[in-house]
Symmetry: C2
């Protein structure tokens, strides 16, 4: 007999690791039970600090996440980690290696690590990342660290999801500020120059400082630049301090509140977009009638704009037809 949703939700809230693992899987696979769990657990989430760790592949994100998690653990905080793994076969091996390297956290009941696939070959957060964060939060995490792959749009996406975003730079990797993707420098609340024992670290720091002095942030926060050698743990405490400082500044100025509003506004509209589409499209995907429409388009017998108008009409009508369940 399958477990009831209320009992499952209670176990997740109590921090039961197996129940949490099954909940995350249910959410990732889009099972109906996953959504029911989220509906129940959403009210019990929202108190964790969500920290995004981003930067190009090879910058040392996994190592910093591991060390930061250890630092938080020493002060008694419960830590959740979401590590986004690339689905691409090209770099999969290396990043899975990083996962294995987080061994200092293995066996610690106060840390929960979950790897997630990227949205697609070109990176980006999986759409369920938000839901996994909600589950970790409801399960009692005080701090949630999200580590991105550092490809495509995921830096910007993690900044939308997190309360605070940490951007890792490294000397000598072509990471010059000038060549950074447009839009990525702007999302960093805290800059970390990792591998700071390598030549060029000072130059990276100076370039970031110069850029920040040219373009101050509208919210008056001055992003600190912290130098670290994550492998030895050097500077990790300073990163945590910078995070706490930003959190204090942010809650005083209403910044965190504002960011969460923007996040939930975007997330609500995204969920609407996705669910509407799923419910309207799935009947025609299931019964194969989509192919007839595609035939008509390729032969130019129908145009896609009128077809979609008609499809939406039929979708609305079906939802209120007598005798039809509407969910």
């Amino acid at each position: 007999m399958p477990e009831s949703i209320p009992s499952w939700a209670e176990k997740v809230r109590a921090g039961d690791r197996r129940s949490l693992a099954r909940a995350i899987s249910a959410v990732e696979c889009g099972e109906a039970g996953g959504v029911e769990l989220l509906k129940r657990l959403f009210a019990h989430a929202g108190s964790a600090r969500v920290i995004g760790i981003t930067g190009t592949p090879g910058a040392g994100k996994s190592t910093l996440v591991e060390k930061l998690a250890g630092d938080y653990r020493r002060s008694g905080a419960r830590v959740g980690i979401v590590a986004v793994d690339p689905t691409s076969p090209f770099s999969g091996g290396a990043i899975l290696g990083d996962r294995i390297r987080m061994q200092s956290l293995a066996g610690d009941e106060g840390v929960y690590i979950r790897s997630m696939a990227t949205r697609g070959q070109l990176g980006g957060l999986a759409p369920t990342t938000h839901d996994v964060v909600t589950l970790l939060d409801a399960a009692g995490s005080n701090v949630i660290l999200i580590e991105t792959v550092g490809v495509g749009q995921d830096e910007v996406e993690v900044a939308r999801l997190a309360d605070v975003t940490v951007l890792l730079l490294v000397p000598g990797m072509g990471d010059d500020v000038q060549t950074f993707k447009a839009g990525v420098m702007e999302i960093a609340d805290i800059f970390v120059v990792n591998k700071a024992d390598r030549p060029g670290a000072d130059r990276v720091e100076q370039e970031v400082a110069a850029m920040l002095s040219i373009a101050p942030r509208p919210d008056a926060w001055r992003p600190p630049i912290v130098k670290t050698v994550a492998t030895t743990g050097e500077g990790v405490a300073a990163v945590r301090e910078a995070i706490e400082k930003f959190a204090a500044f942010g809650s005083e100025r209403g910044l965190v509140e504002q960011r969460r509003r923007e996040h939930w506004r975007a997330r609500l509209l995204e969920l609407l977009r996705q669910k509407l589409f799923e419910r309207a499209a799935s009947p025609r995907l299931r019964d194969g009638s989509l192919e007839g429409l595609v035939d008509a388009l390729v032969a130019r017998r129908r145009d896609p704009y009128s077809l979609v108008d008609q499809w939406i009409e039929e979708f609305g009508a079906a939802r209120v037809a007598p005798g039809r369940k509407s969910r």
Copy 2:
């Protein structure tokens, strides 16, 4: 008095440049007239050959497009060009410069060039690119060249839209095949090594050839590798020949038909997704009631999953309520 849609559509079909320009603007701005035009003109499109030209910024895409267009013009074909410009202020200047450099085509009534913005700061085709191609096609273009920015996902997106995709590589730009973004090498029907007078061109060619021999295509097409110096026109005729060859191979094997089916299937579903969302979301965006929902989410009084369920119910009900127009 505004022109009637049927008369406007007729003028576009007749190749009237001002009517075409206004039609493209109407489509780009999402005016109701734009969709009405597309509904009428869709049946008259579908005979142009759509060619995507992609590759990293600085690879010489604009120059190749200009020279290819000239080559097609000399054989009497009418040519449409869609040049996707970055919206980012960082590289805008340089690319606008490229536009100006297409001067050999200026004043030629058989060529229509339209610049379009990217979808966002991180690149990607604007969603209306498909519609602009439909308009150029209905206006009598025999060949439509789409030039991407070469950032983010646009290589993959243009491959979905085009009948044939040409990928430009250049020696000595860190363009080594190994470092190419996953998924980009696979989309090329034709490889062009441009700036082939520079050192390293042979090495790039060898690397591509090696990669192709390791991973042959499931459709049995063997992508040719053409060397060009686009600035002098060297090799441009060979690129065109390769395009014609692929087109012949593709129509013989049903490849072009299959690609168009996939294209229109994806496009139809994308339109459905977008229109459903617009119609369901716009009332709450207009009357500001979305903000009340966001308040409830941030305070965790409501959960987003149930909220979206309810929203979809109300949307369906509104579409068939008596006395409500459904469009």
